[in-house]
């Protein structure tokens, strides 16, 4: 069975996370620019004397499809590599995938990872 591991991380942690995933044998990743709102709060900007708050902070979403056996390990990698210890480090979560196919070959399931 296939799992989809998703992490929301700080943008400048992408490099370590990528490295960590590569070391863990992951061969594919999909990355999306997202904006997060959370405990971290935002910051205040001023323009022409007026203040406004920016409460959406740039984050990256990293998605990895993997076989069920690897999921735990990948969550762990994310945890370690995306960790700064400061608020706003983000979340990692895992979702069950029903079916997975590689478009190029039509391979299914674990073969498609």
């Amino acid at each position: 069975m296939i799992k989809l591991v998703t992490a929301v991380i700080k943008p400048h942690m992408l490099e370590p996370v990528k490295e960590g995933l590569k070391s863990a044998g992951v061969q594919g990743v999909t990355v999306t620019e997202v904006n997060g709102f959370g405990r971290q709060g935002g910051h205040t900007e001023t323009y022409r004397g007026a203040e406004y708050s920016v409460d959406l902070i740039p984050k990256l979403k990293v998605e990895v499809l993997c076989s069920i056996d690897d999921a735990e390990r990948i969550v762990d990698v994310m945890r370690k590599c995306a960790h700064t210890g400061k608020i706003g480090d983000g979340k990692v979560w895992v979702v069950d995938v029903d079916r997975l196919m590689r478009v190029r070959t039509g391979e299914m399931g674990d073969d498609a990872v």
């Binding site: 900007e45 001023t46 022409r48 004397g49 007026a50 203040e51 406004y52």
Partner: protein, 469 residues
Amino acid sequence: MMRLKKWAVAGALGAGVVMLWGEAAWAQATEISAEDVQANLDNVFVLVAAVLVIFMQAGFALVEAGLTRAKSVANIMMKNLMDFCAGALAFFAVGYAIAFGSDVSGVVGSSGWFLGDGAFQYGTLTVPVTFIFQVAFAATAATIVSGAMAERTKFRSYFFYSIVISGLIYPIVVHWNWGGGWLSTLSTPFHDFAGSTMVHMTGGVAALMGAMVLGPRLGKYGSDGRPRAIPAHNIPYAVLGTFILLVGWYGFNPGSELAADGAIGGIAVTTTLAAAAGAIAAMIAIWMKSGKPDVAMAANGMLAGLVGITAGTAAVSSIGAIVIGAAAGFIVVAAVLFFDRIRIDDPVGAISVHGVCGAFGTICVGLFATEDSDFWKAGLFYGGGTDQLVSQVIGVAAVGVFVAVTAGLLFLAIKSTVGLRVSQEEELAGLDVFEHGAPGYGPDVTPVLAPTPITDSRATATVPTGASS
């Protein structure tokens, strides 16, 4: 660019064209006098100055585009482009005659329609050179308004306004002073060297009326009535535009001497110092107010200093220029915050920069003029009493009221006929697509994906026949 062997022939050509323009006083003969050369120099100088002023159109376009949002950027560029075009044709057809034609009761001019018989000519300048400098000024007055009305005005309504201000409102104001009208015949004549009032305040007051009649942009004011920041989409455009305006001002002010004489250097110096002082003062003012040196405000401050010095650029000292520029820099910050608070939404600060600082700068002539001359009396701070000051106030008040009334009526008339403001839906989506058909930034720049053509939707992968190499 014909290949000629003899310079004299070029002289003859010059003469030919001169006669075409109804003036032969300085025609070049084979024997050329120093006066003739000086006249040629004056014409070259004023033509170059006019080109610099025309370049200011690009500066205005960039400042306005930079300080507003990406979704209406094509619209604001188009308005600035068309300001110049509509302004040039309207001023050519009737504006120049109204401004500089033979005087009727001190109020309007009445000759030289379509640059024809009786078209005004100044000093040693030819008719066309006189005109080209003035048309550049007319386009400037018109273009000031577009920024204050940005992001919510119907293009066709704006286009119509633009014709009326360049062809009618601005020319009448100009006639009162530069055209020999009543402001120039006061016992102490009103003095506005390069147009703090004539050009900038005229534009600024029209901008005020436009912004008032339009109302603020959607979302500019919260339900509590307090103003919200709508940040600039492109600060580099705004600063580049400010630099271009600075460069253009060296045509605007020194060129207004209308002759290549010894005064132009001093004018350039007061212009430079006021610009610098204005930017620094505005930076300091906003720094004190909000804790950061805001870039858009500093840029506004440079323009404020420039607008402020424009009336008195030939009359004040270097130190006077710095004081005027710095004061304008402080004033522009206060004015921007003030108009924001009273719910007049001016996205680029045009009312504050051109209207408020234009009035301020004009009045400063009555305070800072260093000594009596043929064109002004010494100001209050230099022991000249209040004569000049009173005239300055009269001029500012008269022009302010006249423009407020005429521009106000014009905008109200447009509003109640074709309409002045776009629909809510259009405003939320941005003006570019609704008014002009396509966005100002393509699908590869803004986060919208590639469009599908109407005619065929599978063509992306089609290779045209000629595509090999």
